[in-house]
């Protein structure tokens, strides 16, 4: 609560601290620190191409971030976002390629349902067999990633493609580009809508109330007559669905086909996004943008300056750790309390 009230200030402060630490790393590793820093920090904003790519890169993160927020709010941990996204997208793409009378909506629906069913499966295991969803979701997801890779390598592989990928989907069902030549596509409006809808759902509906109560104290929820199992199940269902949807929109907007490893960690990064956003759906947008911005900065500076990809990854990770550091936030809040208190 207290943290949420100060969210923006805390966010800005930690970001600045993190960036200072990042700069120190650059100074120590680069022969031309000012050039490297310029590309790392300003590169993503320097032209329309990079900026558009940054925005489009944030779209799947917004979805996985929302997916994690929904699961966390209900007090469940969905660590299987990656697998749900990957597997959901596979079947969404499969339908998009093979069904003659296909549409964007149908592909999205399939990806959503497949992801959601996997999420719900973890929920079922939790309820019926008392398997911790933290483990089951993670392990199922690991297996699904390999199964998906098999499909991409063999039955669904486009023989003409040079890498493990499916055929291209029809141009007509792709999202339209907004800022060519960058990858930015109209899927971003769906992402913003999803954020808004999730916000409404969590804060203004009885279902959101049930999720909040269950997540904050499930004994109390049970005591109050809320069907805790049903809440867990539907939260994991929605969570998995969101993840699947995020991958599908990325394919329909950017790649046009499903490529092996197209998701470089959207699932796990989504969890980080949710942590930064402190489980508030609205804050998922800035958190995802920040993530995507760092990703772009990493890529650009390794091309344009003498920072190797490894160093930029370390840089990215440092900044990230610092921002997610709960301790730091608590420290700041306590400091503020003291100032107001005296």
């Amino acid at each position: 609560m207290r943290v949420e009230q100060n969210w923006l200030r805390v966010f800005l402060f930690t970001t600045i601290v993190a960036f200072v630490c990042g700069s120190v790393i650059i100074v120590f590793t680069s022969k031309n620190p000012s050039l490297a820093m310029r590309w790392f920090y300003l590169g993503p904003l320097s032209n329309g191409y990079f900026f558009g790519n940054m925005l489009s890169g944030s779209i799947p993160l917004i979805f996985t971030g929302l997916a994690a927020v929904i699961a966390f709010c209900a007090g469940t941990f969905n660590l299987g976002l990656e697998g749900q996204l990957y597997f959901g997208t596979l079947w969404g793409t499969f339908v998009a390629i093979n069904l003659t009378d296909t549409s964007t909506l149908l592909a999205m629906l399939i990806a959503f349902s497949v992801g959601a069913l996997i999420g719900a499966l973890c929920g079922l295991l939790k309820i019926v067999l008392k398997v911790d969803e933290l483990l089951s979701s993670f392990l199922i997801s690991l297996a699904l990633i390999h199964i998906t890779d098999y499909f991409l390598n063999n039955p669904l592989r486009d023989p003409l493609a040079g890498l493990s990928a499916t055929k291209y989907v029809k141009e007509s069902i792709m999202f339209s580009k907004i800022l060519p030549p960058s990858n930015l596509h109209s899927g971003i409006f769906i992402a913003v809508t999803a954020v808004f809808l999730t916000y409404l759902l969590m804060n203004f509906t009885t279902f959101g109330y049930q999720i909040k109560v269950t997540g904050s104290n499930y004994e109390f929820a049970r005591y109050g007559g809320i069907k805790v199992y049903r809440v867990w199940l539907s939260a994991l269902f929605l969570s998995g669905g969101m993840a699947g949807l995020g991958g599908m929109i990325d394919v329909l907007g950017v790649h046009g086909r499903m490529i092996r490893g197209f998701s470089f960690g959207y699932g796990f990064n989504g969890i980080a996004v949710a942590l930064i956003a402190r489980n508030n759906p609205i804050f998922v947008i800035p958190a995802a943008l920040l993530f995507s911005y760092l990703e772009m900065g990493t890529q650009i500076s390794s091309i344009m300056a003498d920072i190797t990809p490894e160093i930029s990854k370390i840089l990215q990770a440092t900044i990230f750790y610092l921002i997610t550091a709960e301790r730091l936030v608590q420290f700041i809040v306590r400091k503020k309390e003291k100032i107001h208190g005296s």
Binding site: M1, R2, F204, T205, T206, F207, G208, Y209, K212, V213, S216, N217, E219, F220, A221, R222, Y223, G224, G225, I226, K227, E337, H340, G341, S342
Partner: protein, 512 residues
């Protein structure tokens, strides 16, 4: 020399101020406290008077805004609980947070283990040291038993030994008797006296003037964050004390008016499993407008019985009929819909979600009525919450403030307000007033009686026998998972009779 140290105050707290900016409350407005060495000092006051806050400041768990603390006439600054411990001040926690899987010994030495070869832990030495502590103070527990197997009173002793082992000379107890029944309280008072005999100073926070009079040498009363009384010489009477604590008080007592013949609840041969034992078979019934009291020790299964009837616990066998409907297999939600209200014993763990706002805690049994097509009607939720807050005098500055910022008594009022105001046909209440001051207790009892006048029934478990005698029409006694006795309300029934009835069925060894 001895006389001097006897006369001069051991601890003195002067003009302590404390505000909590988050909840906009002023907890202490210049409180004073003066405790002499080797005495039992009662810190008395109503809920929210600032007793706990004052003691937390002394223990370094909270920091004061302004004020001075003197120890043996020297000013000290206590910044954290380590500082406090350095001066020998420690609080004995009441929630009894022992690690269940550890033995008593392991729980005691957890914070400071005697090392062996720098790396390992020297259990023989530890045992020796604790045996010394036990002998010095005359408090003994079985060190080899696991915490989970110890009864409440023994667990409390383990907590006491823990702070003694850390070198505490001044022990602070926060509402030590609120979760103990009469006999356990007696046992506990004996422990306090033993500690006093071995030279320890004891400050003991309570809202119960009777307890304060029973054991303490000196009494200080706080009201709204100010010290209104500190005892010198002659001892005040019980009524004087309560008057100073609260102002007016009246005793609420249920008049036997005769209740309807309609059965509200009928329990037949109910059997269920609790953590300790199989409880049952149990059969009883409650009539319309009746308050049925249920008493028994912690091990008797009485609390678990209330949970089973409320729907929080699965039954193995038997039948529960509510207004002619079989509800044995129905879950909490359906029972609530039929008109069962429930005040659980663990109010903060089960009865509330402390991180959520007061309003969202107040509507858990009503949120569906306060919504339209799945959308919450926030305006009506706010109005409803304000109504409850006003009616039950819950001290908040906004219904949207998180419950965790309220004082313990106010949290309890949130639970009671919600359950009573939903107009249940059967209210199951488990220790509804434990930890409340006399005025609040009367307030709650009045609400209960009003419910009964309107035709509802109440099943009440309480560890406070006075409360049971005051408002119950009929009393059931449980022991070792069975119903063992039943008393109709009549004027000749006394507390001693009830205690005897419980004891005759319980092995005395378990209490000693």
């Amino acid at each position: 020399m001895f006389l001097v140290s006897e006369m001069s105050p051991h601890i003195e707290m002067r003009e302590i101020y404390k505000t909590f900016p988050i909840s906009h409350t002023i907890a202490l407005k210049g409180a004073n406290l003066c405790v002499e060495r080797g005495t039992i000092h009662a810190l008395l006051g109503e809920n929210g008077a600032g007793k706990t806050t004052l003691m937390k400041i002394l223990c370094g768990l909270e920091r004061m805004d302004s004020g001075k603390i003197f120890l043996k006439a020297k000013q000290v600054s206590i910044r954290n609980h380590r500082d406090a411990l350095k001066y020998g001040i420690a609080m004995v926690h009441q929630n009894l947070n022992l690690i269940e899987d550890f033995t008593a010994l392991e729980n005691i030495i957890l914070q400071k283990m005697p090392p062996k070869y720098l790396l390992f832990f020297d259990s023989t030495k530890a045992k020796q040291m604790i045996n010394n502590v036990m002998e010095q103070n005359g408090i003994f527990v079985d060190l080899q038993k696991k915490a989970a197997d110890l009864p409440v009173a023994e667990r409390q002793k383990v907590e006491i030994l823990r702070v003694l082992y850390l070198g505490a000379e001044i022990l602070i107890f926060d509402e030590p008797t609120s979760y103990l029944n009469e006999l356990e309280s007696e046992q506990f008072f004996k422990v306090m006296k033993k500690l006093k005999e071995s030279g320890k100073t004891i400050i003991f926070i309570t809202h119960n003037a009777q307890d304060a009079l029973a054991v303490s040498d000196k009494i200080t009363i706080l009201r709204n964050g100010v010290t209104v009384y500190s005892s010198k010489g002659s001892r005040p009477s019980l009524s004087e004390l309560t008057l100073m604590m609260a102002g007016e008080t009246e005793i609420v007592r249920k008049q036997f008016t005769g209740y309807g013949s309609k059965k509200v609840l009928q329990v037949e041969n109910l059997v269920f499993k609790s953590e300790r034992q199989i409880v049952g078979p149990i059969s009883f019934e409650i009539k319309e407008g009746e308050i049925l009291g249920l008493i028994g020790f912690n091990s008797s299964g009485a609390v678990e019985l209330t949970e089973a009837i409320a729907g929080m616990r699965k039954t193995l066998n038997g039948k529960i009929t509510f207004h002619g409907k079989d509800i044995t297999e129905k879950d909490m939600a359906e029972r609530r819909k039929l008109g069962v209200g429930y005040i659980p014993q663990k109010k903060t763990q089960v009865g509330l979600s402390t991180k959520l706002p007061v309003a969202e805690n107040l509507i858990i049994n009503k949120y569906k009525e306060l919504s339209c097509l799945g959308w919450l009607k926030y305006k009506e939720i706010g109005e409803w919450s304000n109504k409850l807050i006003e009616e039950f005098e819950i001290k908040v500055f906004s219904p949207w403030q998180p419950v965790e910022t309220l004082s313990g008594g106010n949290m309890q009022r949130v639970v009671i307000a919600r359950e009573v105001r939903s107009m249940p046909r059967l209210l199951i209440a488990c220790d509804p007033t434990s930890g409340l001051d006399l005025r609040s207790v009367n307030f709650v009892h009045k609400k209960f009686l009003k419910l009964c006048e309107e035709g509802s029934s109440i099943l009440m478990y309480s560890s406070d026998l006075d409360e049971i005698l005051k408002i119950c029409d009929r009393i059931l006694i449980m022991s070792k998972g069975k119903l063992v006795a039943q008393y109709e309300k009549d004027p000749s029934l006394t507390k001693n009779k009830l205690i005897e009835a419980i004891l005759s069925n319980e092995s005395r060894a378990e209490l000693a």
